[in-house]
């Protein structure tokens, strides 16, 4: 159990206790202020003779106003409630009387029971008044229980503390209240514990998962264990899983790249070693060896240059900010640069463009991407063929297509040609294998899409770059 558990636990528990106290106090206050109105809970009080007798003498000897004062005093002193009912069955203080109680009192009176507490008096002004006392039922019950186990009442001196019938039991802690509080505390502890556990358990899961990931276990996933929750914490779990799988893909990608790079470097190195061996074995072939070594070192150097470019594409955000690029000018420069290579194979580059526009982006990256695609087309084009380069602007997009008349790419390899070091089966390894991979990443940096398709007649490849403006 971590500290968070105890914090949650204490917070919940204190809240429960405070709420319980507030609710308890509120209920009691309301109960006290309304207990006169709850007539159905009241019974005739047959022990209120000491209140009824003075009331009877006041009524018989004095006037109604004095009796009213006396009745008010009794009312406010939290004693039993004394009613004085006139001939019209109306209380002289105007209080509501439950008819059942009145009927009961009259019946008892006619039977001649409780002559001390139910009395019929006549005032000097010849008014008939009917006097009786009423007490809350639960109060009489408590008086009984207090009588049976008087020790259980704490502090208070008992049920008839100074005032007969006074609610002295509420001031102390009688046994049932004590039990109620104990049960309440245990229940609140229990529920606070459950609640705290419910909140801290997924956090503990998360923590374990973080530890596992930082220890290098990128297969860690947690959303399955908290799937049933469907709350913010399970969303956090799903986000965590997303993060880890993205990291995993990134790291796997990097490892694959490193693996591929070492393979790529191995071939030219193997050829260099073989060439050196031959030069040692056959000194007359030294010149040939030198030119081969030169070629192979150039290949390694190109590969490293491309690799740096690839990593630069990935890190563009740190290097520069986007600038407005005059697209027509950029394309003109690229076509001019690539024409030199195309001329060597007697290839024509047919470039058509529509409107003139500019676009926000990284000029160098975009140049590399487009250049690599056109170079790739030149490489696979047969001599004396034509490459069609088209730029069209649609609404908020610019679409650049490069179509060659080369052999095309097998359908299943169309998406793979953008992977680093992917080579089609009939391809020599003159190329670095990174050109289209760089193009893909550069286009993605511009939130664009690059895709390849074969021409309808199967003759030649079309590479399409879609850039948002």
């Amino acid at each position: 159990m971590g500290r968070l558990f105890w914090k949650f636990f204490l917070a919940f528990w204190l809240t429960l206790i405070v709420v319980a106290i507030i609710v308890g106090t509120g209920v009691r206050l309301r109960h006290n202020s309304t207990h006169h109105n709850h007539i159905e809970d009241y019974r005739l009080d047959h022990r209120a003779g000491i209140f009824i007798t003075p009331a009877a003498s006041i009524a018989e000897q004095s006037d109604i106003a004095t009796l009213k004062r006396y009745l008010n005093d009794i009312d406010q002193s939290r004693g039993p409630t004394l009613y004085a009912v006139d001939a019209k069955d109306q209380d002289i203080l105007g209080r509501d009387i439950e008819p059942a109680i009145l009927i009961e009192a009259k019946k008892q009176f006619e039977l001649g029971h409780h002559q001390n507490t139910i009395r019929q008096v006549t005032t000097p002004l010849n008014q008939n008044l009917f006097l009786f006392a009423v007490v809350p039922e639960h109060f009489t019950a408590r008086c009984k229980s207090n009588k049976q186990i008087p020790k259980a009442s704490h502090g208070s001196a008992g049920p008839f503390n100074g005032k007969p019938g006074g609610p002295g039991g509420l001031i102390g802690l009688p046994a049932d209240l004590f039990l109620l509080i104990t049960v309440g505390i245990i229940a609140s502890l229990f529920f606070s514990g459950i609640l705290a556990w419910y909140f801290t358990k997924p956090i503990r899961h998360l923590r374990n998962a973080f530890t596992a990931v930082s220890a290098g276990n990128l297969d860690t996933r947690i959303s399955a264990t908290m799937y049933h929750r469907k709350d913010e914490l399970s969303e956090l779990g799903i986000n965590f899983d997303d993060m880890v799988s993205k990291l995993q893909n990134l790291i796997t990608g990097q490892q694959q790249l490193l693996h591929d790079v070492s393979h790529e470097l191995r071939s030219p190195l193997a050829r260099m070693q073989a060439a050196i061996g031959i030069a040692q074995q056959q000194p007359e072939k030294r010149q040939e060896t030198f030119s081969r070594l030169e070629r192979e070192t150039q290949r390694i150097s190109d590969l490293i240059g491309e690799l740096l470019m690839l990593s630069q594409v990935e890190n563009t955000d740190n290097l520069q900010t986007k600038q407005a690029i005059d697209f027509a000018e950029l394309m003109a420069e690229i076509i001019e640069d690539t024409r030199y290579e195309a001329d060597e194979k007697n290839i024509t580059i047919n470039y058509t463009t529509g409107s003139d526009f500019s676009l926000m982006g990284y000029e160098e990256l975009l140049r590399r991407a487009i250049e690599n695609v056109i170079r790739n087309a030149i490489k696979f084009s047969p001599p004396a063929s034509t490459i069609f380069v088209t730029v069209k602007q649609f609404d908020q997009h610019v679409i650049l297509t490069v179509a060659d008349q080369g052999p095309g790419v097998a359908g299943e390899d169309l998406s793979n040609i953008f992977q680093p070091f992917f080579r089609t089966k009939n391809q020599d390894d003159e190329s670095s294998g990174l050109g289209l991979a760089i193009a893909l990443r550069a286009v993605e940096k511009h939130n664009g899409v690059i895709a390849a398709t074969n021409q309808d007649d199967g003759k030649g490849l079309i590479v399409m770059i879609n850039l948002p403006l």
Binding site: S262, H263, R266, S267, L269, A270, R271, M272, Q273, A274, A275, I276, G277, I278, Q280, Q281, Q282, K425
Partner: protein, 230 residues
């Protein structure tokens, strides 16, 4: 003149090796893919095959497994340096030895000579000594290079046969790895060389376990291996 087949898709590299090996008095043929390479290897024309593990149409181990179904032709494989898994899988699939690429041609020739020398020695020893080794359930016939185990034919590559032979000749004693390497591979052990261990684990698998769960061949840590006698 010994005939060598190189199966590798690197055109430039193979032509360089061909050039070098021809000057070293070998006859060299080249196959640029697995399918034609396997066909050529099975033609019984060659004394040794140099096999690259990364071919465009087939992985090297696939070729090895297919070749080993019908042939004991010595195979020297080209593996990527640092790729131990590749090497172990290759040796387990029945390659006789390996050369890490990139390698110098001199190193390659030394490995080729080691394998061929060993094969020749076996031929000589087989014709001069009509020896049959009999250790418990194991019967090794050096003349026709056949092994039986609990009266069942035991399929061993030539390197595995040599290793088992070396252990059987000194059954009950520890044979150190360097001697095993010289006897079975025709060369000295080099640093980080796990070939003997890989071959040995392959033999162990073929022999199975004793009733008490121990292997018939025991490892003596830091020294070598020992064939249990009887």
């Amino acid at each position: 003149m010994e005939k060598i087949l190189i199966i590798d898709d690197d055109v430039e590299l193979t032509s360089l090796f061909q050039d070098y090996l021809v000057k070293e008095h070998f006859f060299v043929d080249i196959a640029y893919d697995g399918t034609s390479g396997l066909k050529a290897a099975l033609s019984n024309k060659y004394d040794l095959v140099i096999l690259d593990m990364m071919l465009p149409d087939m992985v090297g181990t696939e070729i090895l497994v297919k070749l080993r179904l019908n042939s004991t032709l010595p195979v020297l494989m080209f593996t990527a340096k640092g790729d131990d898994l590749d090497r172990i899988i290759g040796l387990e699939s029945g390659a006789d030895d390996y050369v890490a690429k990139p390698c110098t041609p001199r190193e390659l020739v030394a490995r080729i000579r080691a394998i061929l020398r060993r094969i020749n020695q076996q031929a000589v020893s087989a014709s001069t000594t009509q020896q049959t080794l009999n250790i418990g359930p194991l019967v090794l016939s050096s003349s026709n290079r056949k092994a039986t185990w609990f009266e069942q034919d035991l399929k061993l590559t030539s390197t595995e046969f040599n290793l088992l032979e070396a252990l059987a000749q000194q059954a009950g004693q520890v044979v150190n790895k360097n001697d095993l390497s010289e006897h079975a591979l025709g060369r000295k052990l080099v640093r980080y060389d796990r070939s003997i261990d890989v071959h040995m684990s392959s033999i162990r698998q073929k022999l199975g376990q004793q009733k008490d769960g121990h292997s018939y061949i025991q490892t003596v840590r830091g020294k070598g291996y020992q064939l249990i006698k009887g």
